[in-house]
Amino acid sequence: MSQTLYDKYGGFASVSRIVMEFYDRILDSESVGDYFENADMKRLIDHQTKFIAYLLGGPADYTGDRLEQLHAHLKIKGADFDEMKEILEGTLSDHGVEEADCAAVMAEVEARRGLIVNPG
């Protein structure tokens, strides 16, 4: 069985740091932070833990339907999706994720653009 990025980068112990950092950077972002203005902390962390674990091949079961359902009401613009990608890429990179692995994760995120972007 091939090793997932989740295992390669140290499982939950490392991924939890990536999740917290991503969570902080997203909230601090001028452009996308507003989407989380009234978000419940528990739900947001729950969502991001699952999302990052899912992207890295960890123990998460996130379907496309669920992603679409979670983001539909936010009316996310394409530029904001790009910003979110940039934040995630920076976070992964700063936590030692290799360039090729980063690119693979970003390709996975990009593949889900249609489920998340919905300018309304």
Partner: protein, 339 residues
Amino acid sequence: MSIEAINEQLLRAIGAGVALVDPGSLEIRFHNETFSEWFDEVKTGARLSDLLEDLDLATLRQAIEENGRYDSEATLRRKRRRIVVALSFTRTELGLILLEGQNITRIRELETMIETYSAMVERNTREIEREKERVEKLLLSIMPRNVYEEYKAFGVVTPQSYDPVTVLSIELVDFDVKARDLSASVLVSEINDIFASFDRIGEQFNCERIKTVGDAYVAVCGLPEPIDNHAASAVGAAVRFIRYLSRRAESHDMSWQCRVGLASGPVIGSVVGVQRYVYDVFGPAVNIARSLRSLADPMQIVGGNLELDQIGDEVTILEEAPSFHDGAVPVRTCRLVST
């Protein structure tokens, strides 16, 4: 610098939020920077009730009065974040209430994350357990339980000799003709129904199904646990296979008949294959049973080397004829029908 001034500097510098509260008016008399940051700005004289709207003032007063201390937790809004602060109120010797606050937001965030992660892992564990059960069920359908236990523990199965046992080898009459005429789904459904019934009958007579190959059904009586009356049990099962097919023909559109070959003797049981595991039995009894079934007329049993005095009265011996040889070795055969 005076001691008082040093104390004040220290209070201002520490990471915890600190304030001194008037016990009567519950107004802030002093606060440090950290405390102030949680509320954007706090002025001396600000009322506790304005800063901490959810704080139960009556309970606070009562607890301070009775115990000199009160602990609580508050969620504060700061820009986009919600800050969770653990608050501890203590009555001091000066008469003021010392309010200490610890920012426990990150602890709560991590708790939430661990909660989510645990739920994910538990869910995965449940799925793995279910998958394990499916695999176990599948393996138990192709090998006896004790063989499976050995395989699970050691990853290999030692070939085992079983002596004596009785092998049952059954084939359906005119299967090839029916296979040509019937649709694949009807054929498979019929075979499935018949073999599932054979399994149920066989179980009652200690017969372990080993395999099916097309229309051929092979079972062994006396394996994995040896039994004394293996021949009688095998005959009992064979008689019921035949009776079952007779009764089935009365209520089904399609009528099936079978020929049964039985042979007593030693067999070796083992798992064979590396990528694809098959539990199989080998030995003269297996080959003789297979050869004898083709000598049987429809709905008859031909037995080889059976202990006839074991057999009982469920069958009638039509003939005893030493007419069959396994290589150069003569086989005592008998032709049986259900009584």
